[in-house]
Amino acid sequence: MVRKGAICAEGIVDNADVNEKGWVLINDLIGALVVMLGVLFVVLTMIAYLTYLERKVLGFMQDRLGPMEVGPWGLLQPLADGIKLLSKEDIIPSEANRAIFRIAPVISLVPAILAFSVIPFGHDSFGFQGVTLHPYIADVNVGILVILALSSIGAYGILLGGWASNSKYSILGALRSAAQVISYELTAGMSVIGVLILSGSMSLVKIEDAQSGGFWHWYIFPQIVAFVIYLISGIAETNRTPFDLPEAESELVAGFFTEYSGMRFSLYYLAEYANMIIVSSVATILFLGGWNPPLPSLGFIPPVIWFLLKVYFFLFFFFWIRATLPRLRYDQLMRFGWKIMLPVSFANIIVTGIAAYFLER
């Protein structure tokens, strides 16, 4: 399916002279810039308020109120936290490798933010004075690969930060994290393949389009195994409880960011939350139909709302798991990843492939 904006843009280019062509280009550029700034603003705000939401949800689950002091119901807490972190001293250990110590948090955060460029937040693109605004920054035809590749690059931030700190706890945390990310990235990638077989495309927009028309078209039903595997791998990849061994405070103080303080510490923190939103968005797009409403009659609610509702459901699930489950032991984590998750995801690919082959004839 071709997007509406693309059709009209091509139409104009075909019958226009050079001058109008130039205007179309400039309009496209403006549209892309507006969407980029919008996505960046929304995502950064979402990340900031996710910290607030997590503290609130954890608070309610543990029968307390969470942050209440700054602003009504503590709503300005993220702002206060931000000011505090920005004005804190930036300490670099004397024996650390300064250059890598400084750049590692950035390597961690940038791929996490970049991954938002291929996530479609909604369905309709709308035009305003010739400027078309798409609900995504780019519809890449290998969108899911881009997200997987970027999330694997984020591991470098953790590894390098742990190494450059020149501290036992940091390097142990970093090594644990690298081993964990490699193991679970593999299962995450494998679980995605079932969906790719069914939708016949790697573009996130096309995968969403293939699931339109009611919740019984969603891939969570034929791909329930892949869904569970993806969710577990996603939690493991973002280093959240019960897979937060890289930052297990009872053994490693804080793991790879033990030596970090101030804004550099918060960059790691932001990267973790950005990755949580990415994993939730991808789970929404691949398995819950993305922006598609569960029933066609509910189509009057805008697609963006549906998308955000599903994403926040997964984010709530992250918090819920954190409040409920204890941490795994390291050998349990590895054994579970390689001896259970990987074979099951392989089996899922084979079964899906055979079923798709016979059902389509």
């Binding site: 290998v142 690969l145 997987l148 590749a149 694997s152 690059i153 390098l160 190494w163 990310v181 490699i182």
Partner: protein, 172 residues
Amino acid sequence: MIQQLPFIYFGGMALVCAILVVVSRIAIYSAMALLGMFVHVAGLFILLDAPFLAGVQLLVYAGAILVLYLFVVMLLNVHGRGPILQRQTPWAIILTLLAAGEMGYLVLKSHFYPKLPAIPHPSVPTLGNTETIGMVLYTQYLFPFEVASVVLLIALVGAIVMARGRGGVSQG
């Protein structure tokens, strides 16, 4: 010229990073330079209209293989303090001359023969990039593909035998 700027950037940076890999005295810096090279080679693939290859390049080389390199370097705590070339100087000279000769031959050849087009092969755009690679891999090049996977399997089995062979006792 202006269309070639991205190519010059990606190709040039890939070259610079590749040289840094060899020249750096600290193993971590070499690994980082290698990461830079992988990213820029992925950029070259995108310029060639092969986004699938670019994604796989990042996912496999940058995301898995290089992380394992870094892992080993950090665990062993390697300090490169010796001279860059140790016993391999004659071999290095011979191999460099050979590689330079090959490259020179290719450059001369492309100088006299009609140049290869900078755009992708015309059969590519009809199908998606991913589908095309899949079709070619599983029909035309099926045998080499399977041979490659058997070689990888042998390497895996060999690694396990070497890791377990010494004591003969498995840890369960």
